[in-house]
Amino acid sequence: MTLLLPLLAALQSQPGQEGGFWFPVQASNHAPFYDWVFFFILIVSAVFLLAITVSAIWFLFKYHRSRAPEPEPSTSHSTTIEIVWSVIPAFLLAYMFWLGFVGFMDHRTPPADAYEIYATGRKWSWSFTYPNGAESEELHVPLDRPVKIIMGSQDVIHSLFIPAFRVKQDVVPGRYTDLWFTATMEGEFELYCAEYCGKDHSSMQSTVFVQPEGQFNAWAEEAADFISKLPPAEAGARVFKMKGCIACHSTDGSVITGPSFKGQFGTERKLADGSTVVMDENYIRKSILEPNSQVVAGFDPVMTNFQGQVTDDQIRVLIEYIKSVKE
């Protein structure tokens, strides 16, 4: 063990913000211990693999037919040897389990005073809600303060994964799950969806912004009441991004998963059942709250239900934004 520790330390050293050869940068409280355990298992495995490989190659050389025309008499069974090579690895395995257990319990036990952020996963974007009512599609967290993310899904199973923090947790519809961390490095870090969730799973990515507490608070204050401060269409554009509408609806005429909104307001839309409807304020409202009741012909009824997920104010500015998207 005393021999291993310096080797572990050498493997762990990382050049600045870039991350090392093995891992992304260590940007949370969990990362140093996580990486240490990884390298511990790596060294144990490497020693065993090397021992197996070297002895196999040595035997292949020494007992090759050209050097050993006949097998030498040797025992074909030894209970002592079998027990030795079962019990010694068993101790190492027990220690690995213990390390994993300790680390896991730390991951699963958020401090009582953690700053709480609600996260919502939906096809195919993230939304984060802060204690002051602010909402964002990217995750903003204060530096050096424990943060607990409480997560729910609006549709299928997603998984929130921040490699630089070494955290991941599935986001399951119908229940809340959580994870926690203390960000220890200022900067921007990648956030992925790690559980396959359908068509645009691989673009369900976001960014974590870690800022010193003062800057973070200023951001949260601004984000909480932009609807009252900005012109409605401009605020709507922000809600359009924040709520993830942008993942399926374009504003430039191109068709993604759902219809584009370019120049559509006030026009007549043909529905899947053959009837028609005028795209007015009420149609937009209904399409947000009961999305699959009046689906435009040629599209699948796959939109996530936003009932209870958007406020009246947000719907109002969204309608203004959609009106503003013209030729």
Partner: protein
């Protein structure tokens, strides 16, 4: 005893489509399984190569996200349900098991034929999926995506898997009965060839675990078609329940896929070292131990699923127990080489490479079952690397080893030496180029099932794709070896085709006669 003077054997004793498709002969069924599985493998492999083509560089070049999702789903579903699960037990086991036991056939030949026909039905359902809307749920069919959101042919696929499940169950029943009742006089349990021990352990799992998969997939169909709430929380169901049911089968399924291949490795290393296997009883019992413990480790697929911390802790601890019998096998293989007289024939070089490759696949499992380590690694390419090392360079390489070993018995000619060795070296280098960098790209944080990726993953993916194309094309060499044997091009094989091969299957001529062992041999 055997009249080979007219050159009559199981291959040419009768002719015509029905003499094959309707046959009750385990050797013909084994051979048909073999070609069918290779056909499915070709399709699954082409899907993988198209995926690697798309992932060659970041951005979207050849297929869009929707098509990509279909590719990885069908690659997984075909390789698991149509290739690896039937590949070793049904294809290799059918041919080898009765011969190794000196038995006339399996215990229930008609059930055996039904297994094959059900495989064909299951495969036709998958063809149906391919010809209609495809499938985009991942081979894991996770709810509620599969039950509510997917717009593809989920029900077709679940029915296909359902039929394949019964095919697998029937093979399991057959093999258990055969091993219990049809061993020749003198062959006690601890004289049973280790490949048969592997098949026996696998058969237990096929019988006990596969019905749960059938039930689970039916429930998916019920929720999808009838709207009964089982997994979808909007209907009062629980999506995590699906994962418990699914992995209750699909984790033992991993051992269904690897235990018989590891049994083959035990046979081959002893044969080509011209020694008795070291630690026979421990290897035999390790297969049974893995099979039994394998039933109670499924929760290690779900450490970040939302299951309780206590559940995860218990599953992690039990999973570590699987490492010990796995390690016992590897240590005993190496010990068998000691003081032997080793010949490096094609089956042996494959078997030796499996010691090392399966070792890597097993060791990466240590990280994944260490609770805290799994948090970062779960659902990244590290997992993809882990299970491909176990299933491709472990199970599939063992299948290659077995194929080279038994090809003389199947075809009557020795496999082409040059092509076989070329196939080995080409596959060995490319399989590592293909799967080794996946560990690093996973550690760096690239999630699996991604149609596109961030720029920092580009270099690794470039080399992974090169490895993928190379590995895929290398398999044409294997096809060439098989075709040459089928065309009888090559050195004629004697009854005992390999020096040092001691199993009962080598007592009968090559290719095997139609009727083998009318009276059981006596084992000393």
């Amino acid at each position: 005893m055997y009249d080979q003077s007219q050159g009559v054997n199981y291959l040419n004793c009768s002719r015509g489509f029905w003499s094959w498709f309707g046959t009750l002969d385990h050797k013909r069924l084994g051979l048909m399984y073999m070609w069918s599985v290779m056909g499915a493998m070709l399709i699954g492999g082409v899907f993988a190569m198209v995926m690697r083509l798309e992932l060659f560089a970041p951005g979207q070049q050849f297929v869009d996200a929707e098509a990509f999702n279909q590719l990885f789903t069908l690659h997984g579903a075909i390789m698991v349900f149509l290739v690896i699960i039937p590949g070793v037990p049904a294809a290799l086991g059918n041919f080898a098991l009765p011969l190794m036991l000196g038995a006339k056939d399996v215990a229930f030949p008609k059930l055996n034929r039904l297994s094959y026909h059900l495989w064909v039905v299951g495969a036709l359902f998958f063809v149906g999926v391919l010809l209609t809307t495809g499938l985009d749920t991942g081979w894991t069919f996770y709810a509620p995506y599969s039950t509510l959101h997917s717009q593809t042919a989920v029900v077709w696929a679940t029915f296909g898997a359902f039929f394949l499940g019964f095919s697998s169950i029937f093979t399991g029943i057959n093999f258990i009965a055969t091993i219990h009742k049809m061993r020749p006089p003198g062959m006690t349990w601890f004289k049973l060839p280790l490949f048969c021990w592997g098949l026996y352990a696998t058969a237990i799992m096929q019988i006990l675990a596969t019905p749960v998969l059938g039930i689970t997939l039916l429930l998916v169909g019920v929720e999808r078609m009838l709207g009964v709430g089982i997994f979808n929380p909007a209907l009062g169901g629980d999506p995590v329940l699906f994962q418990h049911l699914f992995w209750f089968y699909s984790h033992p399924a991993v051992y269904i896929m690897v235990l018989p291949p590891l049994g083959i490795i035990s046979e081959l290393i002893a044969t080509y070292s011209r020694k008795h296997i070291f630690g026979y009883r421990f290897i035999a019992m390790s297969s049974v131990a893995i099979a039994l413990v394998g039933f109670i480790v499924w929760g290690h697929h779900m450490f970040v699923s939302g299951q309780s911390a206590l559940t995860s802790i218990v599953f992690s601890a039990i999973t570590f127990f699987v490492a010990i019998p796995s390690a016992i096998k590897v240590f005993n293989w190496v010990a068998t080489l000691y003081k032997g007289s080793i010949v490096m024939k094609a089956p042996m070089i494959y078997a030796l490479s499996v010691i090392w490759l399966f070792g890597i696949g097993g060791m990466t499992g240590l990280w994944l079952t260490t609770l805290q380590q799994d948090i970062h690694l779960h659902d990244t390419y590290f997992v993809v690397a882990h299970f491909h090392y176990v299933l491709v360079s472990g199970a599939v390489f063992s299948m290659f080893a077995a194929a080279y070993y038994w090809l003389p018995k199947w075809s009557g000619v020795m496999p082409n030496k040059l092509l076989g060795e070329l196939h080995f070296w080409s596959s060995l280098i490319s399989v590592n180029l293909l799967f080794f960098p996946m560990h690093f790209v996973g550690l760096a944080g690239m999630p699996r099932r991604y149609a596109d990726y961030a720029l920092q993953f580009a270099d690794y993916n470039f080399w992974i794709s090169i490895g993928g194309f190379w590995f895929g094309l290398s398999q044409l060499l294997f096809l060439a070896v098989c075709v040459l044997c089928a065309m009888k091009k090559g050195e004629k094989a004697p009854a005992r085709s390999w020096e040092g091969a001691e199993g009962l299957e080598w007592e009968v001529p090559s290719p095997a006669p139609f009727h083998t062992y009318d009276t059981p041999p006596v084992v000393k």
